[in-house]
Symmetry: C2
Subunit: 469 residues, 2 copies
């Protein structure tokens, strides 16, 4: 061919993949070398590499196409607010739902215990914190992950029977997902606070806000969350740690219906002041949208796609679409980020909350490129936000055609974590998150980024391999 | 010095400024050349260069520091809505205010005539379009620029006595600025439409919306527009052609007070639906904020800073801080951009409106880097938005310390156009704008970017030079 003479006579360029030794030797001889950052799969672990080799097969690829297709096709619509006891599958008066994988009271961290205590005070199952703690530890209550009940909760993620919950309907798949109404910032239950003002706020949410938002949603015919999230990503939100635009858009969409409610003028004003005063008013809504999408993608046999990432403040757990209800866990790490004045990493609880459902669905930390301003709150420079998102394409199966990133020329967000790609590349999912104080009753002390332990993914990979005949 | 031997013995690098001939010759001899894009001042015009040379003097620099300081220090607060006749200085029942520099009926373009006709129908000064046109052309009405009355209006910019106007108070300087309430998109007065629905909407704005927003603002104690615009710039708006975030933030801020008003439920709902349905609800508010800031910077003797850029659909006019009420005009150009289906540049009216007050104050087209998503509406790629903002630093006196751009590592927006820098560099201000149909009664047909004619700046420069003894 014509190329051969050119190859033999032309000036040679060298591309060096991996070990720098060869490149260094050539550079010393004046030869231009393009260096490629390459490492062997699975960090060179021969056993894991062998397991991986067996999992790159059409059966898994076809299953992943199905799972990813369902994830990307989700049409989450916020339709109503109702008491948890009336709508959450399997909910009872004796149930306390919490964030993350299953955990016993004994192994539970401070803020999750604090939030459970607060929930029992709120439900009037105990009249003092001590009595509530005894009840929670007694074994008479059912402590269960939100994720086992089509629900998600931020931070401690506590949901009990009387709490009004947002209902998100996935109109593409027909399933529903649930989450509480966000309580605002400062001293709140989800960060483990249970003082009188925390409980009073929950009672007002139950008595007034939940009914109002539910009525407004029913009057509106539902709010298209896919369109709203797509807009918010063009407005500087990544919809996990930054929800400023999404919250404002949600209030704007609810406003005509909320304003028309037959309530005293002061209550109408309080509802708008409460919603408008909380830049994370949208957080729980977005989480339920992501849960509705990932639940639809769950349960595809042979799929290696991650459909859950969640933390209970002690363990980080993941689930795969193709491995049913099995959790694969590892120790929850402490986020790296910025602390509020007076606090440091010594005060931080290990990573906690179901909010990493956002990253599981392809937004949150995976969409950091949408939110260059977030680096002011989690540390770093705007270029880091772009870099973080670009890296996530390495471990995902596809890209959203709806959620697009202006700073990356409107490329779709990286979506659908493949456990094989995580193990092969050694690249872990990046999660943007709030940081809770490790003791009950204090609250948020910072915000940052965190990664799951590699152990979750390795355990999931081994389980996948074990399912082969 | 030690540097000399290195200079003599080291390898020489060459920097070539301007004409490529020298660089080409060196490159041909294998010498590495760094090329600098340089052109002689004023495009090589010796007379203008000589005028310029006299204007680079401490007297002007000191005046510009004062003018820029006032511009950057502005604290615009939206405080009230009142009928134009009650608050706009010099307003009478026989006054029609319009956008841009002064113009007679004879020279007026289609959409501005259309909007004047509509305003006279709205004011019940005529019962048919023909009668309104006769009245407007008769010479009995006073046709005056908004800018002469501390006011600004988008597109045709028509303000008449009965229209409720937003009042923005500049708390740093004590002055006030005014603008109408934005009517929404589609067939609206500001694009020259005057059909029955247009007039009916204006009557509802007068009878209901204006009173409601005014009452809400008085109850709120005022809305800090500096903080709101700073937030919106972090949320993908440049606050001229994209106001999605700012509009949502404004609604959020007004909502508790609007919701508490003693109005029928259906009217409360209509107010929120109207405001929420208009992504440019904030536009006129932001324009009044910019007018309050630039008016404060106006009137500093010897200052070469531009304090007005405005278009009447026929002429583009600028005013300088140091040259009082004199306008320097040139023919208004047609924006370059994207057209709605069925329209083309042949249908476009020349650039029109006072909305270029945003660029004059350092946002709008000067802040395009804040709004990469806007390129979808005005043509181009996100990188073009960054490039456009970077270029504006070449012709501005300073940078905002409040309005910051995430994609440029939080650099402040380029602020305070210096007519000397424009003439010296040949770089014209970039304006993002809507495009009106050239015939009355049709409305918006696209959006794009536009520049002022260089003639305005040259005329201003000559006038500055003429003020020297």
């Amino acid at each position: 061919m014509a190329a051969e003479p050119a190859l033999l006579t032309g000036r040679l360029g060298v591309v060096n993949a991996g070990v720098d030794l060869f490149a260094d030797a050539l550079t010393a001889q004046g030869v231009a070398v393009t260096r490629v950052d390459w490492r062997p799969p699975a960090g060179g672990d021969a056993e894991v590499s062998a397991l991986l080799a067996h999992l790159w097969r059409e059966e898994a690829d076809a299953a992943n196409r199905e799972a990813l297709g369902r994830l990307l096709a989700a049409q989450p619509v916020l339709v109503d607010v109702r008491p948890a006891i009336d709508v959450i599958p399997g909910m009872t008066r004796d149930t306390i739902l919490h964030a993350g994988p299953p955990i016993t009271w004994e192994r539970m961290s401070g803020p999750v215990r604090g939030a459970m205590i607060g929930a029992l005070l709120y439900e009037r199952r105990a009249s003092t914190a001590e009595a509530a703690e005894r009840l929670a530890a007694s074994g008479t209550m059912t402590l269960d992950p939100c994720h086992h009940h089509a629900a998600v909760g931020p931070m401690a993620g506590i949901i009990t029977a009387s709490m009004p919950v947002l209902i998100v309907e996935n109109r593409a798949h027909g399933n529903r997902a649930y989450s509480t109404i966000n309580e605002g910032l400062g001293r709140v239950l989800r960060y483990g606070a249970y003082a009188e003002d925390v409980i009073e706020r929950l009672r007002w949410i139950e008595a007034t806000l939940g009914h109002a938002v539910g009525a407004a949603l029913r009057a509106s015919g539902g709010i298209d969350l896919r369109a709203l999230i797509a807009q918010a990503l063009q407005m500087g939100d990544e919809c996990h740690n930054r929800n400023r635009a999404a919250s404002a858009l949600l209030i704007k969409a609810l406003a005509p219906h909320l304003a028309a409610l037959d309530l005293p003028a002061a209550e109408r004003a309080r509802i708008f002041a409460f919603a408008g005063g909380n830049e994370h008013f949208f957080l729980n809504v977005g989480m339920a949208a992501c849960k509705a999408a990932t639940d639809a993608a769950h349960g595809v046999p042979h799929s290696t796609m991650v459909t859950t990432m969640a933390r209970n403040g002690t363990d980080f757990g993941i689930r795969l679409s193709g491995l049913g209800d099995r959790w694969f866990t590892g120790p929850s790490e402490t986020p790296v980020g910025l602390y509020f004045s007076g606090f440091s990493a010594d005060d931080a609880n290990p990573d906690v909350g179901d909010s990493s459902i956002t990253e599981t669905a392809g937004i949150g930390g995976f969409a950091m490129a949408a939110a260059p301003a977030i680096v002011q709150f989690v540390g770093g420079a705007p270029a880091d936000a772009l870099r973080a998102t670009r890296l996530m394409y390495e471990i995902t199966l596809g890209e959203s055609d709806v959620y697009r990133l202006p700073t990356l020329d409107f490329r779709g967000t990286p979506t659908g974590i493949d456990v094989r790609l995580v193990m092969q590349t050694g690249v872990l999912p990046q999660i943007t998150t709030g940081i809770a104080h490790r003791r009950a009753g204090i609250g948020q002390i910072g915000a940052g980024v965190v990664k799951p332990p590699m152990a979750c993914f390795e355990a999931a990979l081994r389980a996948l391999a074990a399912t082969r005949p």
